[in-house]
């Protein structure tokens, strides 16, 4: 278990200067995720192009792992359809939890999160953004209320 596996340069860089930080207004969907144990809070706003995720931004407070994970996710999922996003989410989950997982090439920069599996208490930090994205996408699918 090495600290430099967890805090890789790419993670530290995305923590210091997160990409797609902020909020989209107006947005087609939004969701807020909480880590009640840590007090971490993450709010995602999305713009959709049909089934495709056109743009995503995030705001919130959290540790370097949760901030960098959200930043890396926002880059990876932009322009993808729901099925591709779900596939990525499963691959990231495997990367975060399985020590012997061999990530496919197209995981790209998300592979920087590979060290998290050695720090089990930090898995929930890295997965908060993915759970929140799923909630926002589920909401985007629902018909718009006219009330």
């Amino acid at each position: 278990m090495k600290l430099s596996d967890l805090y890789r340069q790419l993670i530290l860089d995305h923590n210091r200067s997160p990409r797609n930080f902020g909020r989209l207004e107006p947005a087609d969907a939004a969701a807020t995720g909480h880590n009640p144990l840590c007090g971490d809070r993450l709010e995602l706003t999305l713009r959709m192009d049909g089934e495709r995720l056109k743009q995503v931004r995030f705001e919130g407070q959290g540790c370097a792992i949760s901030m960098a994970s959200a930043s890396l996710m926002s880059e990876a999922v932009t322009g993808l359809g729901r099925a591709d996003i779900e596939r990525l989410q499963q691959q990231v989950h495997a990367l975060l939890t399985q020590p012997d997982y061999l990530p496919p090439q197209d995981l790209g920069k998300l592979q920087a999160l590979a060290g998290v599996h050695e720090f089990p208490v930090r898995v929930k930090c890295a997965s908060l953004c993915w759970r929140t994205l799923q909630a926002a996408l589920d909401r985007a699918k629902q018909p718009v209320s006219t009330e």
Binding site: M1, L3, Y7, L37, C63, A64, M67
Partner: protein
């Protein structure tokens, strides 16, 4: 159990009266275990203190030689178990200087003690429009039970804000006491900031205005001699595992006249005198509030923990911790971008801080990697965190076994955090 009539401090205190923390540390088997390849610097005793061998042995002796149910059997073991359990109650009574063991109720911990008062005393005494006064420093366990009670009774929960330094000023409390105020529920020591509240002064002022006072002593009992008669409060709650005892056992002390007037809060065995299908009559104090088979080995462990602390010397422990905390506060200033959260006038064994540009969880992970255990997060004090505009802090807390070496390890590990995060 095998009470050794040792004088306080024998073997633990040097010729000038100072505590020898390395000598105390040697009594705690867990502290000798390496963590992540480093000797353990355990700076999370405010969350849970470790147990000395004397406590572990007392529990083992109870479980292997004395165990049976209490207050029930005529057989030898039941009598021995009862003697051990009631003996522990007497140790507690002596330790906090209660008038009588009738005032010492065994509960699961501070949280259950406060819930007992909220449900038994509160439901009978709190009416619509009444007010319960707390502070913004409180642990959730001294907030949520009152919220539940207030919602049920149509009463109002009012919180006293701290100063920017994290102190509670008596004037700020008094300004919020009015004829509707029925109870002041306050921490003795803040678990998040280490602030010592002016309990005696607040009790005197509250009593002048006819307001009862409950004190959450979870963070005080292990760190200074506590005398409930001297404090003058009406209820005092604390947990075993924060005073070198096991988890799952704690104490509610209450003024006997109040406890006598309070109805039971849980029904079952042991708390009754007679039961018919239609009605029951209640057992005398303290059993009226102890329904069901209690945590006997926990009580025995707590009794042993208090005896242990008495042997070491609670006053010397308090002085040692305060010296260590003061030195650590000074040393923390060498860490670039470190800011203390709370700089109270009187502080016990807790230091909260944040580091510019580094989230407390990242601090916690890097420190853990260096064998330094601290707490990070909101410390079950979310209203206080909100008051300071923080989601979380890092918290180092100290005990009798904490040494200068532990503090130095903390500082070195924090410099390591700066290396990683720049």
């Amino acid at each position: 159990m095998n009470a050794r009539p040792n004088e306080a401090g024998v073997g633990y205190i040097d010729a000038s009266g100072r505590l020898l923390p390395e000598r105390v540390r040697a009594d705690f088997p867990l502290l000798a275990r390496p963590i992540n390849g480093h000797p353990l610097a355990y700076l999370d005793s405010a969350a849970s203190a470790q147990m000395p061998l004397a406590v572990l042995q007392a529990i083992e002796e109870y479980e292997t030689a004395l165990h049976a149910n209490v207050h029930r059997g005529v057989h030898t073991l039941s009598q021995r178990a009862t003697a051990a359990f009631e003996g522990a109650r007497e140790y507690v009574r002596r330790f906090i200087n209660a008038r009588s063991t009738r005032e010492v109720i065994f509960v699961r911990g501070t949280t259950e003690a406060i819930n007992l008062v909220a449900q038994s005393w509160g439901r009978g005494q709190i009416m619509a429009g009444d007010e319960i006064l707390i502070t913004h420093l409180e642990h959730h366990s001294n907030i949520v039970p009152w919220q539940l009670l207030c919602a049920e009774r149509g009463a109002r929960l009012v919180a006293v804000p701290p100063t920017a330094a994290g102190d509670i000023e008596p004037e700020a409390v008094l300004a919020r006491i009015n004829p509707r105020t029925k109870l002041l529920a306050i921490a003795h020591v803040s678990n998040a900031l280490g602030t010592v509240l002016p309990v005696r002064e607040l009790v005197a002022a509250a009593h002048e205005r006819g307001v009862l006072v409950l004190v959450d002593g979870a963070q005080a009992v292990a760190h200074e001699p506590v005398d409930v008669q001297q404090l003058g409060c009406d209820f005092y709650a604390f947990s075993g595992h924060k005073v070198y005892g096991p988890t799952g056992i704690g104490v509610l002390w209450g003024r006997e006249s109040l406890l006598q007037a309070m109805p039971p809060w849980q029904g079952g065995g042991d708390m009754i005198l007679t039961v018919s299908v239609e009605r029951s009559t209640w057992n005398e104090l303290p059993y009226k509030f102890e329904a069901g088979t209690p945590n006997i080995s926990g009580a025995v462990g707590l009794g042993a923990a208090l005896q242990y602390l008495e042997r070491v010397g609670p006053a010397a422990v308090g002085i040692h911790e305060q010296q260590l905390v003061a030195n650590t506060v000074t040393a923390l200033k060498s860490v670039r971008g470190l800011r203390l959260v709370g700089t109270p006038q009187r502080r016990r064994a807790v230091i909260s801080f944040v580091l510019d540009g580094v989230h407390p969880h990242d601090i916690g992970t890097i420190l853990d990697h260096e064998g330094v255990a601290i707490r990070t997060g909101h410390h079950c004090a979310m209203p206080l965190m909100e008051y300071y505009g923080l989601a979380a802090t890092a918290r180092a807390s100290f005990a009798a076994y904490s040494t200068e070496a532990d503090a130095e390890r903390l500082i070195r590990a924090l410099h390591k955090v700066r290396e990683v995060f720049g």
